[in-house]
C-alpha cells in the first residue's frame, strides 16, 4: 500500500494529550508518578512543575497539553489505550496539511505561518484546540508543543551527518525551515528527557 493510503488508515488523535487526561492516567498507573518513576524511564525534569504526584502545576489549564513527559511515559500512555505514538513519517505527513490542502508545504506562506507560530513563547500553557484544523480534522500540529514520535531518534543527530551544518537535509527541501527545526529538536532528545515544550498525541493503527 502506498504511504498515503497507510496514512489515511491511521487514526491520529485530533488533539495532543491534555494535563487532565494525563492526570487520570497517573491515578490508575502509580508507576508513572513523579515520585515512583524509574530514572531510566524519565529524567529529573519529569513533571517537575507539578505540585505533587497527582496535582498539576499551580495555575495550569487542565485542557493544556501535558509536557515534561518522557518518551517512555508517552508511549506507555498510548499503549494502555491500545494506541501508539505516531512515527516521524506519519506525523510529518499529517503536518503538511492546512485547512484546505493535504500538502501545503510548497507554499512559502505556509512555512512562514508555521515559523511565526513556533516563534511564540510559552505556548504550552494554552489549551488544546486553539490551532487551525487540518483537512484531516487534526488540531495543534504546529505552534502549541513539540510532539514525541515513535522513532524520533531515527532522525540523524548532529554528529551523524552534515544536515546540522545548515546544508539541506538529504533529499528534503532546504527551504523547509520548519522541518529543520523539528528535526533539530528530535535530534537533541534522549527518550528519558522531559521537556517543558514537548508533549505528544497518540495514534491508532488498523489491525493488520
Amino acid at each position: 500500500m502506498s504511504a498515503l493510503i497507510l496514512f489515511l488508515l491511521l487514526q491520529l488523535d485530533p488533539y495532543p494529550v491534555t494535563i487532565r487526561q494525563f492526570q487520570a492516567f497517573l491515578r490508575d498507573h502509580s508507576e508513572w508518578r513523579r515520585s515512583e518513576v524509574k530514572r531510566i524511564w524519565a529524567d529529573e525534569r519529569y513533571l517537575l512543575d507539578w505540585t505533587d504526584d497527582l496535582t498539576p502545576p499551580a495555575g495550569a489549564n487542565p485542557a493544556a497539553p501535558v509536557t515534561q513527559v518522557s518518551w517512555f511515559a508517552a508511549q506507555a500512555y498510548c499503549e494502555i489505550q491500545g494506541k501508539t505514538l505516531p512515527t516521524v513519517a506519519e506525523w510529518e505527513t499529517a503536518a503538511k496539511a492546512d485547512e484546505t490542502r493535504r500538502d501545503a508545504t510548497g507554499d512559502p506562506a505556509f512555512t512562514a505561518r508555521i515559523l511565526t507560530a513556533y516563534g511564540r513563547p510559552a505556548t504550552h500553557r494554552n489549551a488544546v484546540g486553539g490551532g487551525f484544523r487540518t483537512v484531516d480534522g487534526l488540531y495543534d500540529l504546529h505552534g502549541l508543543v513539540w510532539e514525541w514520535t515513535l522513532d524520533f531518534n531515527s532522525v540523524a543527530p548532529i554528529e551523524a551527518d552534515g544536515r546540522f551544518c545548515g546544508a539541506g537535509a538529504g533529499g528534503s527541501d532546504p527551504s523547509d525551515y520548519a522541518r529543520f527545526l523539528r528535526d533539530a529538536l528530535r535530534g537533541s532528545l534522549k527518550p528519558n528527557h522531559s521537556v517543558t515544550s514537548v508533549g505528544f498525541r497518540c495514534a491508532k493503527r488498523p489491525a493488520s
Binding site: R45, L48, P108, T111, A112, L115, T116, Y118, G119, R120, P121, A122, T123, W146, P157, I158, E159, R163, F164, C165, G166, S175, Y177, F180, L181, D183, A184, L185, G187, S188, L189, K190, H193, S194, V195, T196, S197, V198
Partner: protein
Amino acid sequence: MKTRHILLATLLIGTAACTPAGEGITTEPELAVLTAPPMVPPPVGNRGPKHLIVELEVIEKEMEIADGVTYQFWTFGGTVPGSFIRTRVGDTIEFRFKNAADSKFPHNIDLHAVTGPGGGAEATFAAPGQSKTFTFKTLNPGLYVYHCATAPVGMHIANGMYGLILVEPEGGLPPVDREYYVMQGDFYTEGEFGMPGLQPFSQAKAIDEDADYVLFNGRVGALTGDNALTAEVGETVRLFVGNGGPNLVSSFHVIGEIFDRVYTEGGTSIHDNVQTTLVPAGGAAIVEYRVDVPGRLVLVDHSIFRAFNKGAIGIMNVGGAADTTIFSAAHETAVQERVHPGKTVYDRTCLACHGSEGEGIAGIFPPVAKSDYLNADKNRAIDAVLHGLSGPVTVNGIAYNNAMPAQGLNDQDVAAVLTFIYSRWDNNGTVVTPEDVAARRRN
C-alpha cells in the same frame, strides 16, 4: 607607548624567570567573569594560564529591537550579542553550557577559539532544560566569534545567537584606558524597519539577504543617547568589534577618528592608520585609537545606508579640552553638530509622513518645508514633537485635521531633528537646543 612596551617586556622576562614551570597550570579552577555588552571583563595582565570555568546559559526572550518594536531573540546569557568571555592563551576552559528549561528550541555553541570538532557544537548540543560540559585549551591568541550551530544555523544566528571570546597573548594585550564590546548583526523581520509590535523572523528575507535591521549590540539605539560610549581626551580606546552576520560583511568605521592600530580579523598582525576595517560575518577585529579632541564620534557600518536607514549607528561622546591646533571649527559648529544626527532622526521618524523634502501630503500631512506654522513659534513646534498634535491646524493656508502621535524622542533628538528641519527647505534657521526641549517638557 613604545616605552611602555619595552617596560612590559622586561617585566615578562622577570616573571618567566621566577616560574620555571612556564605554561603549567597551577591554580585551582576559577569561575570566569562574563560581561554584558558593551562592557568587557578585566584584562588578564601578567597572570599565567588557568583552569577557567565558563558558565553560559541560552535564554530565549522577547526584547525591544527598536522603540515600540519587539523581537523574540535567542541569546547567550540574555543579551545580544552574548556575554563577553575573556581568556589567556594556554588556559584550560571547562565550558558549562546550559539550555534554559523554558526554551522551545535545542541549541549549542561553536566557539571559533576552539581547536577541535565543531568548535564544541556537537559536545554542547542540548535540548531545552539540558546541560552539557566540554573542555578545551586556548592554543591561539586572538578575538573570536562564538555562535549557535543548530539547524537551521542561519535562523539561530539571525535571532541573535553570537558573541565574542577573547584569547589574550602571554602577558596580555597592552594596557589601554577604555575597552568596549561592539558587535554587529543583521535582522530580518516580517514588518519593515520600525513597524511597531512583535515582529516575527522572516525566512524569505533572510535567504534573500534583505535585512530590515543592521545593528550594533542588538537594538536600534543600543549605543546612542543615554547608552552612548564615553571617553576623555588623551585616552586610548580599544574596541572589540565582532560581526555575527548572519549575512552581511561590515565596513566598520568611526566618523571623526582614524584607527591607530587594527588587529586585522582579530589576529596577531597589526595594521597602523586604518580608516575603515572589514569585519566579516563570523569574524572580528580589535581597533584602537587615541582620542585627541572632544566631540561626538559616530560608529557606523560604512556600507552607509545600513547606518542611516537600518540602525547601524553608535555614538562615542568624547569629553575634555579642545585642541584647536588639531581641530578648529567655525562658530556654526553647534548648529552643524545637530544637523547631522537630526537628519537621521528625521529619516527614521518623520520622513514617512512629512516627505523626503519636507513637502508632506496636501490635506493629510502638513508640510514642514517653508512652513509658516513652524517658523512662527519654536515652542509650538517642540510641543508637537514631544506631545503629538491633534485637531485642526492651518499650515501655509491649507487646513489640516489629523492626529500626529507623540514621538518618544529624547531631548537631544528632538533638538536635533527640529534644528535640522529649520535649517532646510527655506525655513528660518531657528536653532533648537536640548535645553529648549527640556524646558518645554517641564511645562
